[in-house]
C-alpha cells in the first residue's frame, strides 16, 4: 500500500468518525424534535399538564376566595397581580381560588349545568357564587389561569381553543364524574377552581371538588 493510499484511508476514516459523531439520527415519528414543527395534539398538552403539574400548580397559585372578594372590594382589577391576564397585561382577567360552602341549588339537567352555593365567610352580599359542572362549560377560565400554557406556542386560535376543550374534558371525567349531583343540595363542599372576571354570578370552573 502506498503512502498516498494510507493517507486517503486515514482521511476517509476520520471523515466517517466526524460524520458519525455530528450527524443526528432521527427516529421515525420523532422528526418534530429536530424541525420544531410540532405535530399538535391538544389532548396530550392538557393531559400532560393535568398529570404532571396541575395539582401542585393550582395549590401553589390559588387564593382563598372569601379573602380575595374582601380585598377586591367590588373591583377585581385592583387585585390583578393575584390573577392572570389572557394577554400579557391586558385581556380577560382570571383567578385561581379555593373555598368551601353549602350547596343551595343543583342544575344538573341543563347542558351548561351548575351548582349554586353559599360561600363560607363571603364578605359581599352582592356576589353570588356558582360552580360550572358541564358538560358544556362557558368561557375558558381554567386554561386562561395557567401561566405555563401560552397562546404564542400555538399555530392558531383553533388549536389554542382545543387546549381549553381538552382541559374541560379532563375536569368532567376526573373531577365531576365522581360527584353525585342528584343528592348534593344542602351538602358542604370544598373546591379549588378558576374564574374569569365578568358580569353576573361568579362562575367558577372546579379543578378539585370534595363533598363533605
Amino acid at each position: 500500500m502506498s503512502k498516498n493510499r494510507i493517507i486517503a484511508v486515514v482521511l476517509a476514516v476520520l471523515f466517517l468518525v466526524y460524520a458519525g459523531s455530528t450527524a443526528t439520527v432521527v427516529k421515525e415519528g420523532q422528526e418534530a424534535l429536530l424541525t420544531g414543527e410540532k405535530v399538535f395534539d391538544p389532548a396530550t398538552v392538557a393531559a400532560n399538564f393535568w398529570k404532571n403539574d396541575s395539582k401542585e400548580y393550582f395549590k401553589n397559585n390559588c387564593y382563598e376566595l372569601s379573602e380575595l372578594i374582601k380585598e377586591a372590594n367590588g373591583d377585581f382589577v385592583s387585585v390583578s397581580q393575584k390573577g392572570h391576564y389572557s394577554m400579557g397585561d391586558s385581556g380577560e382577567l382570571s383567578f385561581i381560588v379555593k373555598g368551601s360552602g353549602t350547596v343551595t341549588e343543583v342544575k344538573n339537567k341543563l347542558k351548561s349545568g351548575y351548582v349554586v352555593f353559599d360561600l363560607d365567610n363571603n364578605p359581599s352580599e352582592d356576589i353570588k357564587t356558582r360552580l360550572q359542572i358541564g358538560p358544556v362549560f362557558k368561557g375558558s377560565a381554567v386554561r386562561d389561569s395557567i401561566s405555563l400554557i401560552s397562546y404564542k406556542d400555538y399555530k392558531n386560535q383553533i388549536e389554542w381553543a382545543q387546549v381549553s376543550v381538552s382541559l374541560h374534558n379532563l375536569i368532567l371525567n376526573e373531577v365531576l364524574s365522581k360527584i353525585d349531583f342528584d343528592n348534593l343540595t344542602g351538602k358542604k363542599i370544598e373546591f379549588i377552581g378558576c374564574f374569569t372576571v365578568g358580569s353576573g354570578d361568579l362562575r367558577i370552573t372546579p379543578v378539585e371538588l370534595t363533598v363533605k
Binding site: L11, F15, S90, K111, G139, Y151, K155, N156, I158, A161
Partner: protein, 321 residues
C-alpha cells in the same frame, strides 16, 4: 506536505460547520424598512364597516406619527394581495400593516416583504407561520364566537332548528368562528342545524340565501352568522317574511347594534378593531425606531359580547366605559 493537506481538510470541515451555525443564528434579523417614509395599510374592501374602521384608524394613527400613508384593498384576493405587497416593496415602504387574505396564501407575500427588509404587522387575522411578520395582533375570534353561541343557546332555550351563514371559505376567521359556534351548540342534542350556506360575508347575498332557507325550513328558530354583515342581511329577510328569529353575528358593527336594540338580533361579539389597528401602527413605529415592539409576535385581544344590555354603549367597534 501530507500533513498540510490533512490540516486543510479538517479546516474545511470546521469552516463548513461554523457557517451552518451562523446561518441559524441570523434568523432574528432586524428589519429597518425599505427606505421611504410610507406606511402601507392593506385591508379587505371598505364596503364592510369593520375593515373601513380598522383602515381609517390605522391611517390616522400613522399620519399622526408622521408617516405618509397608502391605503389599499386586496378585496380578499390573495393574488391581488401579492401584487400590493410588490407595489409596497417597489415603493420602498417603511412598514406594511395588513389584514390579510388567507392564512396560508399570505405567508409568501409577508416573506417577500421580509426579504426586502420591510417589516409586516398583521391585524385581525393570523397566518399559519411565525417568525416572518413582526406582529400578529388578532381579535380572539374563537372566544368571541363561543361567547355569542352561549347567548344563542340560552335564547333558543337549548332546542330547535337553526341555520348557519358561513363567511368566505379561504378566510381563517370563517373557520375559526364556525368551529367556536359548534363547540358550544353541538353539545346540545336538541339543537338541529338544518341548513348551512356560504354568503361570503356579504349582506345582500345573506338576504337572498336567507329567503331561500326560510322557504324550505318553516320551523327555523335561529340563525348563526359568521359576521354581522350577513347577520344583518338575514335579519332583514326574516323581518320581511314577518318572523322574529334568534340571530347572532360576530364583529360588533353599528348596524348589528341597531338590530339588537330593535329586537331583531340576539347578540354579537365586538372585535376591538380600532384598538387593534392603533396598536399595530404604534408597534410598527416603535419597531422601526428601536428594533423591537416590546411584545410577543402573536397577540390575542379578547372580544366583548354585545347583547341588548350593553348595545347602547357600542359605537364604531369600541365600547364606551
Amino acid at each position: 506536505m501530507k500533513i498540510t493537506k490533512f490540516c486543510a481538510s479538517i479546516a474545511m470541515v470546521l469552516a463548513a460547520s461554523s457557517f451552518a451555525a451562523s446561518a441559524q443564528a441570523a434568523e432574528a434579523k432586524r428589519l429597518t424598512g425599505g427606505g421611504s417614509n410610507i406606511m402601507y395599510i392593506i385591508t379587505p374592501s371598505h364596503s364592510n364597516p369593520f375593515f373601513k374602521t380598522e383602515a381609517e384608524v390605522a391611517a390616522k394613527t400613522a399620519k399622526d406619527l408622521g408617516y405618509e400613508v397608502k391605503m389599499v384593498s386586496h378585496d380578499d384576493s390573495p393574488v391581488k394581495q401579492s401584487e400590493l405587497f410588490e407595489t409596497a416593496i417597489s415603493d420602498k415602504a417603511a412598514a406594511i400593516v395588513c389584514d390579510n387574505a388567507g392564512a396560508d396564501a399570505t405567508v409568501a407575500a409577508v416573506k417577500r416583504a421580509y426579504d426586502n427588509n420591510i417589516p409586516t404587522f398583521l391585524i385581525d387575522r393570523e397566518i399559519n407561520e411565525q417568525g416572518i411578520a413582526i406582529a400578529q395582533i388578532v381579535a380572539n375570534n374563537y372566544q368571541g364566537a363561543k361567547g355569542a353561541a352561549e347567548v344563542f343557546v340560552e335564547a333558543m332555550e337549548e332546542s330547535g332548528e337553526y341555520a348557519e351563514l358561513f363567511g368566505i371559505d379561504s378566510d381563517t376567521n370563517a373557520k375559526t368562528r364556525s368551529t367556536a359556534f359548534h363547540e358550544v351548540i353541538d353539545q346540545y342534542t336538541d339543537m338541529k342545524m338544518v341548513a348551512v350556506q356560504t354568503a361570503n360575508w356579504d349582506q345582500n347575498l345573506a338576504y337572498s340565501k336567507m329567503e331561500t332557507i326560510l322557504q324550505s325550513h318553516p320551523n327555523l328558530k335561529g340563525v348563526i352568522s359568521g359576521n354581522d354583515n350577513m347577520a344583518v342581511g338575514a335579519a332583514a329577510a326574516i323581518k320581511a317574511a314577518g318572523k322574529t328569529l334568534k340571530i347572532i353575528g360576530v364583529d360588533g358593527s353599528n348596524d348589528a347594534r341597531d338590530e339588537i336594540l330593535a329586537g331583531n338580533m340576539t347578540a354579537t361579539a365586538m372585535q376591538p378593531a380600532a384598538l387593534i389597528a392603533e396598536m399595530a401602527v404604534k408597534q410598527a413605529d416603535q419597531y422601526l425606531k428601536k428594533g423591537t415592539t416590546g411584545q410577543p409576535e402573536k397577540q390575542l385581544i379578547d372580544c366583548i359580547i354585545i347583547t341588548k344590555d350593553n348595545a347602547k354603549k357600542l359605537n364604531n367597534f369600541s365600547l364606551a366605559k
